[in-house]
C-alpha cells in the first residue's frame, strides 16, 4: 500500500552515492544534490503523512507495513508506517532539507564539500531509516549508520586535533549506549523470538506471565541505555558539547533533526515494553498492569529530570555560543525523557486514555527540532560573520545581522517557553504531566520542581546568550567586516522561524497533539483544556520563564546587576568554577581512562605476562625437558645399542681380517686344516668308535 515510502530512504542514499562518487566533478554545486535528494524525501514524506492522516481523519490509528524483502529468515526488512513514523519522516526530512540548504552558504568556502554533502545525505538516510524501521534490528542498523555519520561529520575538519578527538569521543561515548541497545535487541530476540514491534506487542500480551519480570524491567532499560548514549543524557552526555567542533550546520543536524532525537524516538517506540497493552475488543486496548516495569519507568523519568537540571546549570557559565546551545539540547532532551517517563507512569496507572505525557514529549521533540535548528543555524550565521564562538567577543550584532538577530530572538523565546511560542505549549504540558504523576509517586513532584528550576535556568541562559551576542556594544575586532549572511543561509532561518512560531499551533489542529502521534488511544483534550485544567501550573511556568528572561535582561542588557555579583562570594566563585569545568566530569572521565583503563590494561598486561605467558613458557619448558629426556634416551639407549652393535662388529672384524693375509698358501693351509678335521672326525666316527665298540 505504502510501498512508495521506500523512496523516502532511498532518495538520500542515491544522493549520498552521487555526491560521494561524482561530487568531485562539480564541487561548487554538489550541495544541491543533497538538498534535492533530501527535499524529494520531504515531498514524498509529506504525501505519505497526508495519506496516513486521511485514513480516517486525524486520530485514527494507522499501522501499515511497506513490504520489503526477507533479509534473513524471520527478519523482514520493511517499513512501518504509522502516525508516529509518518510524522517523524516529515519532520526529519524538512529540517534536513533546510539545514542542507543552509550548508550550501555556510560551507561555500570550504574544501571537501562532496564529502560533507555525501555524509549529510547518509546521515539523513540513517535517521529516516531509524524512524521508519519495522523491527529493532533494522532500527539498530540505521542507528549505527547515524553513529558513523556523526563521527565523520563531527570530525569533518579532521586536521584539527580538537575536532578529531571530539569525533572520537562522540563515537566512543555513544558506543557505550549502542552496546547496551544491542544487548537489549539480543534479549528481545531470545525472549520474544521476534524483533517486529507488532509481534512483540502480541507476544507480550499473550505470554507476559511466563516471562521473568526482571527481564521485563531490564529490556526497556537496555533500550533506554542506547537512548542515553544517543541523546547525550547523564552520564553519557560528555560527547555532545565537544561535538560542537564540527561545522555548525552539522551541530544543527545532530541536535535538531537527527541523532539525539533518535534516542527519544527509541524510548517512544519502547513504550510497547513500558506500557504493554492488549486488545480486549476490536479497536479497544487496555493496559496489562502486571507487565508494567514500574522501576524502569521511574529510572527513565529520574534520569530525564536530573539531566534536565544538571545540563541547564552547565549552560549558565559557558561563554561558547554553541556549547550553551549544546547544553540546552541535553537539557531539553531530558525534558522529553521526563515527559515520556511521567507519561508512561500515568498511562500505566490510569489506562489508555491518559496519553498526554507521550504526546507532550513528542510534541516537545517537534518544537525543539524547529527552534533548536533555528538557534543553531542562527548561531552559525553569527559565527560565520564574526569568526569566533566566544560570546565575550560578540555583542551589538543586532544592527549588523538584523535577520539573524530577529530569527534568533524568536528561537530564544520559544526555547525559554514564552507564552504563545511553541516551547511554551509542549514544555508546560510535560511539566503538567509530571506534576500529575506526582500524585501517584511523590518522586515525580521532586522531578517537577527540578523541571521548574530548569525552566527558569533555560530562560536565563537563553537570553544571556541573546543579549551577550546581539545587545550592547561590539567587543570583538574588525567591526567593518561583520555582515549579514547570504540569502541561502537566511532563507532557511526565516522558514524555521515561521515554523518555530507556528509549530505550537499544531496542538490546536490536532487536539493537543496526541491525536497525531498517540500510542494507545487518541484523546480529546485540547491544549487550552490542559491549561485550563491546571491554571496554577501554567501560571507558575509563565512566571518562571518571564523571571529568567527578566533576570538575564537585568544582568546582560540593562546591566543594573553586575554579572560579578554571582561570582563574588567564595561559594559563588566555587560554584562558577564547578560549572565552567562541567562538574569535572570530563576530567573525571579522563582520569578514569588514565588510571582505570590504564590500570586494567596494566593488570591485563601483568596477567598476560605472568599467567598466560607463564603457562605457555611452562608448557614450553616441560616440552623442552621431555624432549631432553627423550633425546638422552635416544642418544644413550637407542644410539648406544646401535653403536655398541656396530662397534663390536667393527672391532671383531678388525681382529678377524688379520687372518685374511692375501697369501694363497695361508688359505690353502686353512683349507687343509679344515679338511683334516673333517677327515679326523670321519675317522673317529666310522673307524675308531666302532673299533672301541661304541654303537
Amino acid at each position: 500500500m505504502f510501498e512508495y515510502a521506500w523512496l523516502i530512504i532511498l532518495s538520500p542514499l542515491v544522493g549520498f552515492l552521487i555526491a560521494g562518487l561524482f561530487g568531485r566533478y562539480f564541487p561548487k554545486h554538489v550541495g544541491w544534490v543533497s538538498v534535492g535528494s533530501i527535499g524529494f524525501s520531504f515531498v514524498v514524506a509529506l504525501w505519505l503523512l497526508i495519506e496516513v492522516l486521511q485514513r480516517g481523519a486525524i486520530g485514527a490509528a494507522v499501522s501499515e507495513i511497506a513490504t520489503g524483502v526477507e533479509w534473513v529468515p524471520g527478519i523482514r526488512f520493511q517499513l512501518l508506517i504509522d502516525n508516529l513514523s509518518a510524522f517523524m519522516l516529515v519532520l526529519v526530512s524538512l529540517l534536513s532539507t533546510l539545514i542542507a540548504l543552509y550548508s550550501i552558504g555556510y560551507m561555500a568556502h570550504e574544501e571537501g564539500k562532496p564529502r560533507y554533502f555525501a555524509e549529510i545525505c547518509l546521515f539523513v538516510a540513517g535517521m529516516l531509516g531509524t524512524v521508519s524501521a519495522d523491527n529493532f534490528l533494522q532500527l539498530l542498523i540505521f542507528w549505527e549508520i547515524m553513529g558513523l555519520c556523526s563521527y565523520l561529520l563531527i570530525g569533518f575538519w579532521y586536521h584539527k586535533p580538537e575536532a578529531a578527538s571530539a569525533a572520537k569521543k562522540a563515537f566512543l561515548v555513544t558506543r557505550i549506549g549502542d552496546v547496551l541497545f544491542l544487548f537489549g535487541v539480543i534479549a528481545i530476540q531470545i525472549i520474544f523470538g521476534t524483533l517486529e514491534f507488532s509481534g512483540i506487542q502480541r507476544q507480550l500480551a499473550a505470554n507476559w506471565m511466563n516471562i521473568d519480570p526482571r527481564m521485563l524491567t531490564l529490556i526497556p532499560l537496555l533500550l533506554f541505555g542506547g537512548a542515553v548514549g544517543k541523546s547525550a543524557q547523564f552520564p553519557l552526555h560528555l560527547w555532545l558539547p565537544d561535538a560542537m567542533e564540527g561545522p555548525t550546520p552539522v551541530s544543527a543536524l545532530i541536535h535538531a533533526a537527527t541523532m539525539v532525537k533518535a534516542g527519544v524516538f527509541l524510548v517512544a517506540r519502547s513504550f510497547i515494553f513500558l506500557v504493554p497493552t492488549e486488545e480486549v475488543a476490536p479497536g479497544v486496548r487496555e493496559v496489562i498492569h502486571g507487565a508494567v516495569p514500574w522501576n524502569a519507568i521511574l529510572i527513565i523519568a529520574i534520569i530525564g529530570g536530573f539531566t534536565a537540571f544538571f545540563a541547564a546549570t552547565m549552560a549558565l557559565a559557558n561563554y561558547d555560543i554553541k556549547r550553551v546551545l549544546a547544553y540546552s539540547t541535553i537539557s531539553q532532551l531530558a525534558y522529553m525523557f521526563l515527559g515520556l517517563g511521567a507519561g508512561a507512569w500515568l498511562l500505566a496507572e490510569h489506562g489508555v486514555e491518559e496519553t498526554a505525557g507521550y504526546s507532550a514529549a513528542l510534541f516537545h521533540l517537534t518544537n525543539h527540532a524547529f527552534f533548536k535548528a533555528l538557534l543553531f543555524l542562527a548561531a552559525g550565521s553569527v559565527i560565520h560573520a564574526v569568526h569566533t564562538n566566544d560570546m565575550r567577543e560578540m555583542g551589538g550584532l543586532r544592527k549588523h545581522l538584523p535577520i539573524t538577530s530577529l530569527t534568533m530572538l524568536l528561537g530564544a523565546l520559544a526555547l525559554s517557553g514564552f507564552p504563545g511560542f511553541s516551547g511554551f505549549w509542549s514544555k508546560d504540558e510535560i511539566l503538567a504531566v509530571t506534576f500529575e504523576a506526582g500524585s501517584g509517586n511523590s518522586l515525580f513532584t521532586l522531578l517537577w520542581i527540578a523541571g521548574i528550576g530548569t525552566a527558569f535556568m533555560t530562560a536565563f541562559y537563553t537570553f544571556r546568550l541573546w543579549f551577550m551576542t546581539f545587545a550592547g556594544k561590539y567587543r570583538g575586532h574588525d567591526e567593518e567586516h561583520v555582515h549579514e549572511s547570504p540569502r541561502v543561509m537566511t532563507v532557511p532561518l526565516m522558514i524555521l522561524a515561521a515554523f518555530t512560531i507556528g509549530s505550537g499551533a499544531f496542538a490546536f489542529l490536532t487536539n493537543g497533539w496526541s491525536n497525531f502521534v498517540f500510542y494507545a488511544a487518541p484523546h480529546e483534550q485540547g491544549p487550552i483544556d490542559a491549561l485550563a485544567a491546571s491554571p496554577t501550573l501554567a501560571i507558575i511556568s509563565v512566571v518562571v520563564a518571564l523571571g529568567g528572561i527578566g533576570l538575564a535582561a537585568l544582568v546582560y542588557y540593562r546591566q543594573t546587576i553586575s554579572a560579578g555579583v554571582f561570582t563574588r562570594s567564595r561559594a559563588g566563585a566555587s560554584v562558577h568554577r564547578l560549572l565552567s569545568n562541567r562538574y569535572y566530569i570530563d576530567e573525571g572521565a579522563n582520569q578514569l581512562a588514565r588510571y582505570g583503563v590504564v590500570g586494567v590494561a596494566a593488570a591485563t598486561d601483568w596477567f598476560d605476562r605472568r599467567v598466560i605467558d607463564g603457562a605457555v613458557n611452562g608448557i614450553a619448558r616441560g616440552g623442552a625437558a621431555a624432549s631432553r629426556a627423550s633425546d638422552w634416551f635416544d642418544r644413550r639407549v637407542v644410539d648406544g645399542a646401535v653403536n655398541a652393535f656396530s662397534l663390536t662388529t667393527v672391532r671383531s672384524s678388525l681382529t678377524a681380517r688379520k687372518r685374511q693375509t692375501g697369501r694363497v698358501q695361508d688359505y690353502t693351509a686353512v683349507i687343509v686344516f679344515g679338511l683334516s678335521i673333517v677327515i679326523i672326525v670321519i675317522l673317529i666316527w666310522r673307524v675308531v668308535l666302532p673299533a672301541l665298540g661304541v654303537p
Binding site: R657, Q660, G662, R663, V664, Q665, Y667, T668, A669
Partner: protein, 100 residues
C-alpha cells in the same frame, strides 16, 4: 701282484709330499709342480682300485684325470705368465691381492 695297501700308502705319501710343497714353497712354478704331484695321488688310487676290483672304469677315469691335469697345468702356467707380466714376480709370498 702288489698288495693294495702299498699302492694306497704310496698314494698318500704322494699327496702329502705334494701338499707340503704347495704349503711351503714360494715359487709359483714349484707350487704348480707340487699340485701336479698331489694330482697323481688320486690317479694312482683310481688305477689301484681298478686293478683290485677288476673294473676297467677306474682306468678310464684315470686317463681323463691325466688329460684334465694337463689342461690344468696349462691354465696354471698361463695365469702365472700373466701374474709375472703384471707384477714382475711369481713369488707367491709377495703377491697378496686376495686380501681385505
Amino acid at each position: 701282484m702288489i698288495p693294495l695297501e702299498y699302492e694306497l700308502i704310496l698314494s698318500a705319501l704322494l699327496f702329502v709330499i705334494g701338499l707340503y710343497g704347495v704349503l711351503t714353497r714360494h715359487n709359483a712354478i714349484v707350487v704348480l709342480m707340487s699340485i701336479e704331484i698331489m694330482f697323481n695321488a688320486p690317479i694312482l688310487n683310481l688305477v689301484a682300485f681298478s686293478a683290485y676290483t677288476g673294473d676297467a672304469a677306474g682306468q678310464m677315469f684315470a686317463l681323463i684325470a691325466i688329460a684334465l691335469a694337463a689342461g690344468e697345468a696349462a691354465v696354471g702356467l698361463a695365469i702365472f705368465l700373466v701374474l709375472y707380466r703384471a707384477h714382475g714376480t711369481v713369488d707367491l709370498s709377495r703377491v697378496r691381492l686376495l686380501r681385505w
